[in-house]
Amino acid sequence: MAGNPAAGAPAAHPVTPAARGGGDATAPLLSVRDLRVQFFLPEGVVRAVDGLSFDVFPGEVFGIVGETGCGKSVAMRALLRLVDPPGRVVSGRILWRRAGGSAPDRTAAGDEKGGGAGPAGPDGVVDLAALPAGGRVMRAIRGAEIALIPQEPMAAFSPVHSIGDQITEAIELHRGIHGGDARRLAAAICREVGMPAPEQRLADYAWQLSGGLRQRALIAMAVSCDPRLLIADEPTTAVDVTTQAQILRLLRRLRRERGAAIVFITHDLGVIAQMADRVMVMYLGRVMEQGPVEAIFHDPRHPYTQALLQSIPRLTSTPRDRLPVISGSIPHPLNQPRGCPFHPRCPHAMPGTCDTHVPAPRELSPGHLAACFLYEPAGAPLPTPPAAPPPCS
C-alpha cells in the first residue's frame, strides 16, 4: 500500500523514528495531540487517558507498554472512536493522514459535526476526534485504514457466524469485492497468515479453532482490507509461549511485506523489546517516557521505566536473588494522586514538587522524552498546577 520513496531527510518533528518501513519519512501517519478520555461514573470522573501525545510513522512498530489502568487500551479505542458512554473523548486531536495525504498541518475536520461528508477528501488529514463516531468517514476509516487486533480473540468473533463469513464481510464492506472473489481473497489472506487448509477453516466457527489459529484468523480479518495502521492490543496474552513466538514473527513479516505501521500494545517488556522500533511507557493515563527502543531498554530515564525494567525476572538473572521492587500498588482509577501519577511509588519523589505539579514531557536526546522533574533544569518555574477535573456533564 505505502509507497517507498527514499527516506533520508531528517525529521522536522521532534520524534525521530529509529526505523521506518516506507512512506513519506517526515510525515507521521497518525498524530495524537493532548488526547483526553474520561469516564463519567456515578462515583466520580476517571481520567483514563490524560493528555496523550504521540506520532506513528508509516511502516514502523510503535510499542505502548503499561500496566493495568494505564489507559493504553482506552486510548486505542479512542483512536477508532469506539469509546462508549459513560466514556467520552473530552479533548485532543487525532490527526490521521488518509491515503495520498500530506503532513497533518491542517485540520479540516472541524465542521464535520453533523454530516457524514468527508471534509478533507480522500487525500487529506482528518481529525478523527472531531468526526462523528458513527459517520460515513469514520466507518470508512475504521477497519479499512486503521484495523484493530483485539485482545480477546474469543470475544472478537461472533460465535454464530463462521470465520469465513466474518472475514468476507469485512472485505465486501470495505473493498467492494463480492461473492466468490471475496471468499477466495479471504482464503488467500488466511494462507498468508499461516492457517493450514484455509478453504476448510473458513467454514469453521471461532470456538472450533485452537488459540493460535483463532489469533491468526483475527489477524487475517484485520489485514484483509490492507490497512495502513494496525493496532494490536495485547495480541499474544491469551496464547502460549511457542504460539506467541509464531504470532510475533507473523506480525513482523506482515509489517515487512505489507508496509503497514503497527501500534503494538502490551504489558510484556520482553515482547515490546522484540517488536517495537519506538516505545511509549504509560502509567495511569499519562506518558512517562517515550523514545527509541534501544534508549528505553538501555538508557531508561524515567524512574518508573527504570523500576519496571529492574523488577522483572530475566532468563539471564541470578536465581533466588531478591528482586528490586516498586513499592506499593497501582492506585485505584478514582483515586489518582495529585501531581506526577507515579510520585507515591517513586524513589526519587521530591516533596513539594512531584506531589503538586505534573511534569511535562521533556526531550532529553533526539526523540527520547521523559516526563519527570529530575530532568527539569534547576530553578525552572514549575508548570501551572493541574486544573481540577471538569464537572460532570
Binding site: 500496566e67 493495568t68 485452537s210 488459540g211 493460535g212 489459529l213 502460549d240 509461549v241 511457542t242 504460539t243 506467541q244 513466538a245 509464531q246 510475533l248 514473527r249 513482523r252 504489558h267 510484556d268 517488556l269 520482553g270 515482547v271 515490546i272 523489546a273 522484540q274 517495537a276 527502543v293 534501544e294 531498554f297 538501555h298 523500576a307 519496571l308 525494567l309 523488577s311 522483572i312 525476572p313 530475566r314 532468563l315 539471564t316 538473572s317 536465581p319 533466588r320 536473588d321 531478591r322 528482586l323 528490586p324 521492587v325 516498586i326 500498588s329 497501582i330 485505584h332 511509588r345
Partner: protein
C-alpha cells in the same frame, strides 16, 4: 468426573522410597489421570483424555520444584491430583506427613485425608476469582482455622488472622474489609495468608503471579521466597513464564502433553537443555532486550490434543530433529547426567542451545 476405570491402580503395598537418608517430602510415581470423553445421548465413553500420563517426580523438604509447560500439558491436573481435588486414575502420590509416616494420597479414603489437608495448601492463579467477594478478609483467612484448625473462639481466630496478615505484609486493620477494596497484588497476599493459616509444609502454587501486574509480580515472588526461608516451606511452583520459574525454583520439570519430558536442576536445565522441546521453550521467551532479537528457532505447529496424541514421541511432529524412530517408539524418561533426566531418543547426540 469420578469415573475412574477400576483396577487401574497398580497394587503397590509399601512405599519404596523413604528408606534413603534424605527421603523426599513428596514422591509422585507413575501418576495418571484420564478424563472420559462422552458421546451421544447415552453418554457412552468413547475415549479418554490422557491429561496426566505416567508422571513421576520427587520434591525434597524445603525445595522448590517448578512444573512448566504450555496450556493443556497437564500441570494443573498434577497439582489437583496431589491435593486430591481429582482422584488419580493410577499411580501413587507419597507424602511424608508431619508425624513421619509416609502415606499414599492417591488412595487414601477421604476421611483419612482430612488431617493431611492441613499440611498441603494451595495458592491460586487468579486473585480475583479465588476470594469470595462476600466474605471479609478476616473470614477468608480465618476460614481454614475454623474448618480444619478447630479454632472456634472468634477472638483467638482473629488474632491469628492478624498475625498472618502481618506475615504477608498487610495491615491487620484490613481485616473487616472485603476483597474488592484490594488491588491484585494485595489480594494475592490475602490468598497466601489463607494458604499459610494451617502451617502447611507443602504449598502448591499454581501460576501465582501470572495474573498480576509486572510491578507487583516482584513483590509477590520476593514474599514467597522469604516465607519459604522463615517457615521452611516446600513449594511446587507451576508456571509458564520461564523467567519467573528460573528465578524461584531449585529444580524444574518440563511437561508436554501429559508427560514429563525433561527434569533437572534449574541452572543445568537452562544452560544445557537436553530435550528439543525445552530448548524451543527457552528460545521462544521474548528477551527484554532489543539487542537480543531473534527470529529463528521458532517451533512449528501447535500442542496436540491429549485426547488424540501423535504416535511415538508426542513431540515428533514439531521436533526439528525427529527421525523415523521418534515416529514409532515412545521414549522413556532416563538419566543423562547427575539429577538430569530426559525422554528423547537423540538426547546424547544433540547439542541444544540454552541460556546463560
Amino acid at each position: 468426573m469420578q469415573l475412574t476405570p477400576s483396577g487401574a491402580r497398580s497394587p503397590r503395598p509399601a512405599p519404596g522410597p523413604g528408606s534413603a537418608g534424605a527421603s523426599p517430602l513428596l514422591e509422585v510415581a507413575h501418576l495418571r489421570k484420564y478424563f472420559p470423553i462422552h458421546r451421544g445421548f447415552s453418554r457412552r465413553v468413547t475415549g479418554w483424555v490422557r491429561a496426566v500420563d505416567d508422571v513421576s517426580f520427587t520434591i525434597a523438604e524445603g525445595e522448590t520444584l517448578g512444573l512448566v509447560g504450555e496450556s493443556g500439558c497437564g500441570k494443573t491436573t498434577v497439582a489437583r491430583c496431589i491435593l486430591r481435588a481429582h482422584v488419580p486414575t493410577g499411580g501413587e502420590v507419597f507424602f511424608r506427613a508431619r508425624d513421619g509416616a509416609t502415606v499414599d494420597l492417591a488412595r487414601l479414603p477421604r476421611r483419612a485425608l482430612r488431617p493431611l489437608r492441613r499440611e498441603i495448601q494451595m495458592i491460586f492463579q487468579d486473585p480475583y476469582a479465588s476470594l469470595n467477594p462476600r466474605m471479609s478478609v478476616a473470614d477468608i483467612v480465618g476460614e481454614p482455622l475454623l474448618a480444619a484448625g478447630g479454632v472456634r473462639d472468634r477472638r483467638v481466630r482473629f488474632e491469628r488472622v492478624a498475625d498472618l496478615l502481618r506475615l504477608v505484609g498487610l495491615r491487620p486493620e484490613f481485616m473487616p474489609r472485603f476483597p474488592h477494596a484490594f488491588s491484585g497484588g494485595q489480594r494475592q497476599r490475602i490468598g497466601i495468608a489463607r494458604a499459610l493459616a494451617l502451617h502447611p509444609r507443602l504449598v502448591v502454587a499454581d501460576e501465582p503471579v501470572s495474573a498480576l501486574d509486572v510491578s507487583v509480580q516482584a513483590q509477590t515472588l520476593n514474599l514467597m521466597m522469604e516465607l519459604q526461608q522463615t517457615l521452611g516451606l516446600t513449594y511446587l511452583f507451576i508456571g509458564h513464564n520461564l523467567s519467573v520459574v528460573k528465578h524461584v525454583c531449585d529444580r524444574v520439570a518440563v511437561m508436554y502433553v501429559g508427560k514429563i519430558v525433561e527434569t533437572a536442576a534449574t541452572a543445568d536445565l537452562y544452560r544445557t537443555p537436553r530435550h528439543p522441546y525445552t530448548a524451543a521453550l527457552l528460545a521462544a521467551v521474548p528477551m527484554p532486550d532489543p539487542r537480543r532479537r531473534s527470529d529463528d528457532g521458532e517451533l512449528r505447529g501447535e500442542v496436540p490434543s491429549p485426547a488424540n496424541p501423535p504416535s511415538g514421541c508426542y513431540f515428533h511432529p514439531r521436533c526439528p530433529f525427529a527421525v523415523e524412530r521418534c515416529r514409532v517408539e515412545a521414549p522413556g524418561l532416563r538419566t543423562i547426567g547427575p539429577g538430569h533426566r530426559v525422554s528423547c531418543h537423540r538426547a546424547e547426540e544433540l547439542s541444544l542451545p540454552g541460556v546463560s
